[in-house]
């Protein structure tokens, strides 16, 4: 044999051949780990992105029969007109032609206003929420008590009237604001009376 034996000489040719073949049995796993984490990142990023939620909206059932009952007069009412450029015009209580004035505001200012006007109910609901968190009442009791607070005579009643320039987003924001400020009695209507429309048009011209 021509090559020099590595070991201690006396091993003989039998063992030499075996030793030459002996490599590491380990595979380098790094690329596999790379691949695994790449896939992992991909799936994490694609799964948690899409989270839709829903807002429940209930319209009053349209009255049937020849003589629809006249809607009862509401006090503590607020009428909101949603219109172009995310503007809101509102008036409180009953509409009196010639007397009622519209006030202009926008979506960033309306939420504190609503909470202020609906303070009693809002605080009652906040209080109920605290009790629920402290496990003093059950979720079922919370729901019914909240409902009761919102149906209260003193609670605010809001009429949302998007006009022809309003965006759908405006209406959703407003309904969402009702939830935030704890107003349970609200209605979305599309019927703007001619007198109201005239007043609204006059106000819109100013801005």
């Amino acid at each position: 044999m021509a090559d020099v034996p590595e070991g201690g000489g006396g091993g003989g040719g039998r063992h030499q051949k075996k030793r030459a073949k002996k490599g590491s049995t380990r595979i380098d796993m790094t690329p596999m780990v790379d691949l695994a984490f790449l896939l992992l990142t991909f799936f994490i990023l694609t799964t948690t992105m899409y989270k839709p939620s829903t807002l429940q909206l209930t319209f009053p059932v349209p009255p049937e029969g020849p003589n629809p009952p006249k809607p009862t007069e509401v006090n503590n009412a607020l009428t909101l007109f949603l219109t172009k450029g995310d503007q809101i015009f509102y008036y409180r209580n009953e509409f009196k032609p010639g007397e009622t004035q519209l006030t202009r505001t926008d979506f960033s200012k309306i939420t504190p206003l609503l909470i202020e006007w609906n303070k009693n109910t809002f605080e009652r609901i906040q209080d109920l929420g605290r009790k629920l968190n402290a496990k003093e009442i059950t979720e079922l009791a919370y729901d019914s008590l909240k409902n009761e607070a919102q149906k209260d005579k003193a609670a605010m009643f809001v009429i949302i009237k998007p006009d022809k320039d309003a965006k759908y987003r405006n209406m959703i924001d407003m309904v969402d604001d009702m939830d935030i400020s704890g107003i349970g009695k609200y209605a979305v209507q599309d019927s703007i009376k001619p007198a109201e429309q005239a007043l609204l048009d006059a106000e819109k011209l100013k801005f």
Partner: protein, 218 residues
């Protein structure tokens, strides 16, 4: 001093447990992932603070995209198959079983019924997409109110198969569409034939406002 013989260890780490963990997680995410279904239309829904989740069954979705086009969708495949047969009867066109199967597997439908047979004979999603983009959506005019027929057909078929229950109705509108368009759809919902006075509006979860309100509560 005698030389200490240190055992020679390889500097390489054993990666096997890491690979195990990695692939375990990959498998988990792959199996739990729910891919977004192929949508005929992309809608930028407005955001809200509401956290109530969207139901996944018995849900009829009426979508209004930013151009004001209207789409119809229903989750349950059996009902879908019956609805398309009913619509074919009503509008007097015929579909072969393959077209019906294709309809069942699709989601949002925004094609006027007259074009449905040719739409459903297209096999490739790319070709359908072209047609979707050119489509004016489901007509909702008072003279040609196909949306009403879709809704009524869904209601009748669903309630006959479920003992008189009504499907859950969801409205998925683009935030920038005019309210007057949405109002037309709501008026159809409230109409005397379908009488939908309760429905859900699909929104995105709004995170910034959630933080604000949780700060307020503190």
């Amino acid at each position: 001093m005698p030389k200490l013989k240190m055992p020679r260890t390889s500097p390489a780490l054993d990666m096997t447990p890491m690979v195990d963990l990695g692939f375990l997680l990959v498998t988990f995410f792959m199996l739990t992932a729910q891919f977004r279904p192929e949508e005929a239309v992309v809608v930028d829904t407005p955001s809200s603070m509401s956290q109530s989740p969207i139901p996944t069954e018995n849900l009829m979705t009426v979508t209004v995209d930013s151009a004001g086009r209207v789409f119809w969708d229903f989750t349950d495949k059996k009902v879908r198959a019956e609805v398309i047969k009913d619509m074919a009867n009503r509008y007097k066109f015929t579909l072969d079983p393959e077209q019906i199967q294709r309809f069942v597997n699709l989601n949002d439908i925004g094609i006027p019924v007259q074009q449905l047979p040719s739409y459903l004979s297209l096999d490739s999603p790319a070709e359908r997409k072209v047609m979707d983009q050119a489509s004016p959506g489901i007509p909702i005019d008072s003279t040609n109110n196909q949306l009403l027929d879709w809704i009524r057909s869904t209601q009748i078929i669903f309630s006959s198969g479920s003992g008189g229950k009504n499907p859950i109705v969801a409205l998925k509108g683009d935030g920038n569409v005019n309210y007057s368009t949405i109002n037309k759809v709501i008026k159809i919902f409230q109409g005397p034939t379908v009488k939908i006075n309760r429905f859900k509006m699909i929104t995105d979860l709004e995170e910034s406002r959630m933080q604000v309100s949780s700060n307020e509560q503190k």
